[in-house]
């Protein structure tokens, strides 16, 4: 669905967004993932969210117990409160979470692959994004619109010509900063063809609020055609 189509159907979407179920969807929602990186991060979030809900409830119960029924709460010695509550419980929860998150992070970083993924370059400037495609034979360039093939990983090299910006497509994956003099790479993948919103996440001056871009994920053939020179048509 294109942005325009979304816009046309906005009233409906608007109503829908008021219901709690779809509270997580949206053109820029990290909880409405459309690629593996964003999906596993969303899963991580839901796990952490449930864990946090349980833990905060538990803490509320414990505080209430200690205050309202000290007779019961004092069955445990002060020492065991501190050791089991303060050391053992958080120690166990945190170790499990930390290991899971690090393993997940290992899967997401842009380290070299057997078959090198497609490379595209994103260059930020106050306050636009321009995208180049070093892997395509013709020098193609697009402004505020990034074309990628769907269903395969893409390495986006992010640079800047002025201040720090940050490249973020919430539905596809995490963000990476564009820092003067540095070339940072983020690996993204869109599972299906579609339109994905992106924003500049790092404060970059007066135009920071108005520095969005779109990622258009195409079927591989379509993408090849665009790279071959049909860029005008895709830009619309």
């Amino acid at each position: 669905m294109t942005v325009a189509a979304r816009l046309r159907r906005r009233p409906l979407a608007y109503l829908a967004s008021l219901t709690i179920l779809s509270g997580c969807t949206g053109p820029l929602s990290a909880l409405d993932p459309a690629g593996p990186a964003a999906a596993s991060t969303a899963t991580l979030w839901w796990i952490m969210f449930s864990g946090a809900a349980v833990l905060s409830l538990l803490m509320a119960v414990l505080v209430a117990l200690a205050f309202l029924k000290p007779g019961i709460a004092s069955l445990w010695s002060a020492r065991s409160w501190i050791i089991y509550g303060g050391l053992v419980m958080p120690g166990a929860v945190l170790s499990a979470l930390l290991i899971a998150a690090l393993v997940l992070g290992e899967r997401m970083i842009a380290r070299p692959l057997e078959q090198p993924p497609l490379k595209v370059a994103a260059q930020a400037r106050q306050w636009t994004w321009s995208f180049a495609y070093p892997d395509s034979r013709r020098a193609t360039l697009s402004v505020n619109v990034l074309h990628i093939p769907a269903g395969e990983p893409v390495d986006v090299t992010v640079t800047t010509t002025d201040v720090i910006h940050s490249f973020w497509v919430p539905r596809l994956g995490g963000k990476i900063d564009a820092i003067p003099g540095h070339r940072n790479v983020v690996r993204l993948q869109a599972d299906r063809p579609g339109v994905y919103g992106g924003v500049c996440a790092e404060f970059c001056g007066a135009g920071h609020s108005a520095m969005p871009f779109t990622v258009l994920a195409h079927e591989p053939e379509e993408f090849a055609a665009i790279m071959a020179g049909a860029i005008e048509e895709a830009r619309r």
Binding site: R6, C24, G26, P27, L28, A30, L31, A37, T41, L44, W45, M48, A52, L55, S56, M59, A60, L62, V63, A66, F67, P70, A73, S74, A78, W81, I82, G85, G86, L87, P90, L94, L97, L98, A101, L102, L104, E106, M108, V163, I164, S166, W168, G174, K175, D177, P180, G181, H182, N184, V185, G197, V199, A201, F203, C204, G205, H208, S209, A210
Partner: protein
């Protein structure tokens, strides 16, 4: 005079005569900790009001999409000033005020170690804050966000004065943070009631000790960063300019090396207040006192190993991120230990309810949620999504408002009766709590979701299609409920202060020393000082109070018009000496005013002119020493309870000696960050190696090493001779000459060997390293000359040798940092060539 028994009233009059601050204009000369502490707190609360108003502007702007309420230029100033004010002009000074006001009372003494320094710190804070507010009213407020990332804050992208206001104003304010930190550390270690060993100290003392220690190490990196950035803006030294060998990431490292400890510096004292108040309402002393102390130590150190979690998205390799992620997870454990110590205290006590408890419950609820989202953000993959979004804004307010404001209000309701001697007549605090609690959660809970739905932080407008409208609207409504709650608290406090019921002593049945004071507390705190034989949160204020007021404790008399209090051994609390504190003086005020003049002239780019007020400030600082000291040996004096003790002038290590040590530790943290800078740039900055490096030959460096090394030896010789009652004059003069010689050699090295500092960051950092040593040789020389003057004026004898000994650590430090600096500057070119060959 000593020996004569005075009635409590007569004693009160005599002591008040000495200790009370004057009225009217004389108020500017006040140095008393109660006055200074109260000033800090009231000023901080005013800044909180201003920051809160700015927050309302932000929420008004964000209430709807495509809002046209304030434009981007103004909006950027508004959120930058909100963050800056809340962090630097409210939270930290509020803590300082609380600690300055409360500590001597909790520790059973009359004042802090360096009263004039406290007063000076307050004026620095006030003037620095005023400069920021004035700039805001003039429409030239900083607008690069509270962490001032370069190059957005560099002159290329912020050509106006906005960023200079931040850099100079905040550094000015930070002076007060560092002076307060030094003062607090030394006071806690040296000035307690006799018998109050560290394990008998009220837990609040530990919290402040640890927090102040963190400030000693945590603020210098920011001060260094600000100075470097200001040098870049004013004189074009390229520390952060990528094209000339600088790196924007250097700023981020320096900033967050300060910035993360900063949030714990804000949280810990509030937790200390909880650890003090909660046991009172649990009606038993804090359980797990030792566990809490260990937790504090762990927290203090770990908090310095977390800073990169603010930089997970800057492109640092995963392994390094993992170190910081794991450390960030680990830091929750000491916090959990504290929370469970509180729960256990309630469980093993007889809990009762009162208003402060309500706020503590609010604190626990909100802060725990903030801690949980903190753990989430510490997980690298999730951070990549949530970083720099409204989720972070939500998290930071859960920990800052939950971890600081809620305990603060609890503390306010708890200690207000102590400060003003009245208990509340109305119960507005109840509805106020619920307004704040509900308003807060409505405002900020939504922001988690707004962030996850893709809304970055620091945006002033957003498109309708994004679907963030209803969440933001709810947040904004919550914000106004929250404000109403705060307004109600203000009304309630006003009513309590004006119309509250008077009471005599200890409304909460607390068992710490401050409740043994007459209420409201007199300027001298205790008519005589207590002696402590058990943990000082299990005392009986009702019986101690009258005894102290009758002068049965230590120093229960007025002598020579001296402001006297007792100094003790650091750990055991054994009585050591009588400290004679300096009296009321205008000097701190004038000195701060001179510094303010310096800051302002620098701000308006009158660089040469600015040296004048700087010189005046320096001379005024020297004048501080005129009133201290004894011109003859005095011997031990009577201190009451049939004991005698020497005066601090005649002891080995009085507070001022420790003050020098702690100040040098802060200085070392500063220097460490400075040394880190070229090494970091060499490794990561793109435009390296530099085309030209230092060319000096070996003569000047060799001479420098000799003079630097000789100075401390001469200084030691002077001290040794003086101890044998022989004249140290020659050796003191030699020390001064050697330090000046080092200074000149350093300048020669800078002028002849070093390529122009504006060309490359290598040159600029080398310049900074050498300039640092120039400054220190100058200071060390001045200390030697000061020693000469003191000898000449008769303030020094074998017994009264502090004026000479206090300089020894400084001479040593100057030599060590001098060697390190020259070594680094000389070695770096070799390192660079070797590295290039390797690469």
């Amino acid at each position: 005079m000593s020996g004569r028994v005075a009635t409590p009233l007569r004693l009160h009059r005599q002591l008040n005569e000495i200790w009370a601050s004057g009225r009217g204009v004389k108020r500017l000369a006040a140095v008393n900790h109660s006055v200074i502490g109260t000033r800090f707190m009231i000023t901080a609360l005013i800044f909180f009001g201003i920051g809160g108003l700015l927050a309302m502007l932000i929420r008004a702007q964000l209430a709807t999409s495509r809002s046209a309420f304030i434009g981007p230029d103004l909006y950027n100033q508004v959120f930058t000033m909100h963050g800056t004010i809340m962090m630097f002009l409210f939270a930290i000074p509020m803590f300082e005020g609380m600690a300055i006001y409360l500590l001597p009372k909790l520790l059973g003494t009359r004042d802090l170690a360096f009263p004039r320094l406290g007063a000076f710190g307050y004026w620095c804070y006030l003037f620095g804050g005023a400069i920021l507010i004035a700039a805001m009213l003039a429409g030239a407020a900083p607008d690069s966000g509270w962490f001032m990332y370069t190059p957005l804050s560099s002159s290329a992208f912020t050509p106006g004065v906005n960023a200079d206001v931040w850099l100079l104003g905040i550094t000015f304010v930070e002076i007060s943070a560092v002076t307060a930190a030094v003062e607090l550390v030394v006071s806690i270690l040296k000035i307690r009631a006799p018998g109050m060993s560290l394990n008998r100290m009220p837990i609040f003392g530990w919290y402040v000790l640890v927090t102040a220690g963190m400030m000693v190490l945590g603020f210098p990196p920011l001060i260094l960063g600000s100075i470097l950035l200001e040098l870049e803006r004013a004189f074009d030294l390229p520390f952060f300019d990528t094209a000339r060998g600088g790196d924007a990431l250097l700023w981020q490292h320096l900033f967050w090396l300060f910035g993360h400890p900063e949030v714990y510096i804000i949280f810990l004292p509030a937790a200390g207040a909880v650890s003090t108040i909660l046991p009172v309402f649990a009606q038993r002393e804090l359980t797990g006192y030792r566990a809490v102390v260990v937790a504090l130590v762990a927290l203090a150190f770990l908090s310095f190993g977390l800073w990169v979690h603010h930089m997970f998205a800057v492109g640092i390799p995963h392994m390094a991120l993992a170190f910081f992620s794991a450390a960030s997870a680990a830091v929750t454990i000491p916090t959990a230990v504290q929370i469970f110590a509180w729960i256990a205290t309630l469980a093993h006590g007889r809990p009762r309810f009162d208003i402060p408890m309500l706020w503590i419950f609010g604190f626990l609820f909100v802060f725990i949620l903030g801690g949980l989202t903190g753990v989430m953000l510490a997980m690298v993959p999730f951070n990549w999504q949530a970083h720099d979004t409204q989720f972070v804004t939500a998290h930071l307010h859960y920990v800052l408002v939950g971890g600081f404001i809620f305990p603060l209000v609890a503390a306010l309701y708890y200690w207000l009766p102590h400060i003003r001697g009245r208990v509340p007549a109305f119960r507005l605090s109840m509805p106020a709590f619920w307004l704040v609690f509900i308003g807060f959660n409505v405002t900020f809970f939504m922001m988690h979701l707004t962030g996850l739905r893709g809304m970055p932080r620091r945006v002033g407008t957003y498109p309708v299609e994004a679907g963030w409208d209803w969440l933001n609207l709810i947040s904004s409504i919550g914000g106004f409920i929250l404000t109403m709650g705060f307004a109600l608290i203000v009304v309630d406090v006003f009513l309590q202060v004006r119309y509250g019921r008077r009471f005599r002593r200890n409304p909460w049945k607390a068992r710490t020393l401050e409740w043994a004071q007459p209420i409201p507390p007199p300027a001298y705190n205790f008519a005589s000082l207590p002696w402590i034989t058990r943990r000082a949160d299990t005392l009986e204020p009702a019986s101690i109070g009258p005894e102290l007021a009758a002068g049965h404790g230590y120093l229960g008399f007025a002598r020579n018009g001296w402001m006297e209090t007792l100094g003790v051994d650091i750990t055991s609390g054994r009585m050591e000496h009588v400290i004679v504190l300096p009296r009321q003086t205008y000097l701190p005020f004038w000195t701060a005013l001179a510094v303010a003049a310096f800051v302002l002239s620098f701000l308006f780019s009158y660089y040469w002119f600015s040296l004048l007020p700087l010189g005046i400030a320096f001379i005024l600082l020297l004048c501080w020493t005129r009133v201290t000291g004894l011109d003859r040996d005095n011997g031990p004096v009577v201190i009451g309870r049939e004991e005698i003790a020497p005066l601090h002038y005649e002891t080995h290590r009085p507070p001022s000696w420790w003050g020098m040590i702690i100040a040098l530790i802060a200085d070392a943290a500063f220097y460490g960050s400075l040394v880190f800078s070229p090494l970091f740039l060499w490794l990561t900055a793109p435009a390296w190696p530099p085309s030209q490096t230092l060319k000096s030959g070996m003569v000047v460096p060799a001479l420098l090493v000799a003079t630097l090394a000789a100075a401390p030896l001469c200084a030691r010789r002077a001290v040794a001779l003086n101890a044998k009652s022989r004249s140290p004059v020659l050796w003191l003069a030699a020390t001064a000459i050697l330090q000046f010689a080092s200074l000149i050699l350093l300048v020669i090295l800078m002028r002849t060997g070093l390529p122009a500092p504006t060309v490359h960051a290598y040159n600029a950092t080398s310049f900074a390293l050498l300039a640092y040593s120039v400054l220190h040789t100058f200071l060390a020389a001045v200390f030697s000359l000061f020693g000469l003057w003191r000898v000449w004026a008769g303030y020094v004898s074998a017994r009264r040798s502090l004026d000479l000994r206090i300089a020894t650590p400084l001479h040593d430090y100057t030599a060590i940092t001098g060697f390190a600096g020259i070594g680094l500057v000389l070695l770096l070119p070799t390192l660079i060539t070797a590295g290039e060959a390797f690469r």
